[in-house]
Point group: C2
Chain length 199, copies 2
């Protein structure tokens, strides 16, 4: 019997593809094995468990995701960069729903690779926000706000959470504009400008 020539990365990559196709919740060891032309127990030579497979997919997904975001934001700055980042974020989540779900899970503390790619993502967002000259704590708040808002939006969108699918593009742009509006460096604490226009 000729060997299949698998490797951990092969199994993880296949799992990632399947997660996008059938949904992470329906991803099964048997499904991965079938696609790889192999019997289910054979996978355990390459990934320790289904949980380990999830973690592997998560790390791979984050790596890909960060790269896509970095490419989108490259050469841009300010609001332009934020819009580019947001659009890429949303598109990637829509194109890779399974990967996206895994990518949000908190990194397990003991996984070095995991921590590294997570840090990379944080740095990317910091870089995009650097042009706004926010003081330290406000930069943290801003990064969290953008992460939360974009994540929430794409989660609701792919989950069918929005009633009508119509005009979702416009709603997304509006959300991103609102976030950008909150990036003005002044306004020390928690009482924004309630009277004037943003620019």
């Amino acid at each position: 019997m000729p060997r299949a020539g698998l490797a951990p990365a092969t199994v993880v990559a296949c799992g990632a593809d399947l997660a996008d196709e059938v949904g992470l919740a329906n991803l099964t060891m048997g499904l991965v094995a079938a696609r790889l032309g192999v019997r289910t127990p054979s996978l355990y030579r390459h990934v320790g468990s289904l949980d380990a497979l999830h973690r592997g997919i998560s790390v791979q997904a984050r790596r890909e995701f960060v790269q896509v975001l970095a490419r989108a934001a490259a050469g841009r700055s300010g609001p332009d960069a934020v819009h580019a980042l947001a659009d890429a974020w949303r598109r990637w989540a829509r194109d890779h729903p399974g990967r996206y779900v895994t990518s949000v899970r908190a990194a397990v503390g003991d996984d070095e690779e995991d921590r590294r790619v997570t840090d990379e993502a944080r740095r990317l967002l910091d870089d995009v926000l650097a042009g706004f000259d926010l003081p330290g704590p406000r930069a943290v708040d801003a990064a969290r706000a953008i992460r939360a808002a974009l994540h929430g939006f794409v989660t609701l969108e792919v989950g069918g959470g929005f009633g009508l699918p119509r005009d979702v593009d416009r709603s997304f742009r509006s959300l991103v504009d609102t976030l950008i509006g909150g990036l003005r460096p002044h306004r020390d604490a928690a009482e924004p400008d309630r009277t004037g226009r943003p620019a």
Copy 2:
């Protein structure tokens, strides 16, 4: 053998409690049965399947959630109402992580009860936003923005997505303020300022 006196609502309520305690993903028919002092197959007299139990929990959770939000926003208006709503939203999600996860799932079309409570939630948010005098389409965008941002924030928070647990309160307030900042009625469409610096 004396009967346990179960009812669909009993099983669903117990499932909701357990979902909060052990996480929705770890909610099992056997667990619910054990807590109710009953054997697993007995549950099937009251709920059709594990999936049906999830749907039941979802509807109950949404009902409770909407009521909490309504109570929080009652008697307030404008930014004050938005803050109250947001704080209640976040607190409820933290106190009921299992319920919260189910509550976000898209309603299945054929469930009348489900649709009703979902509409109720939408109306509540519309009411809170009514004080901002937003033109129709902008009100839709605003509602979606708030839903997305709050949902994303609490999801990341309960999932441990934020690196440091410190200052999360401040970040949340900052996010809500930013959202409120985006609720100013003018600014006709979705093209605020894409060229210069935000302020």
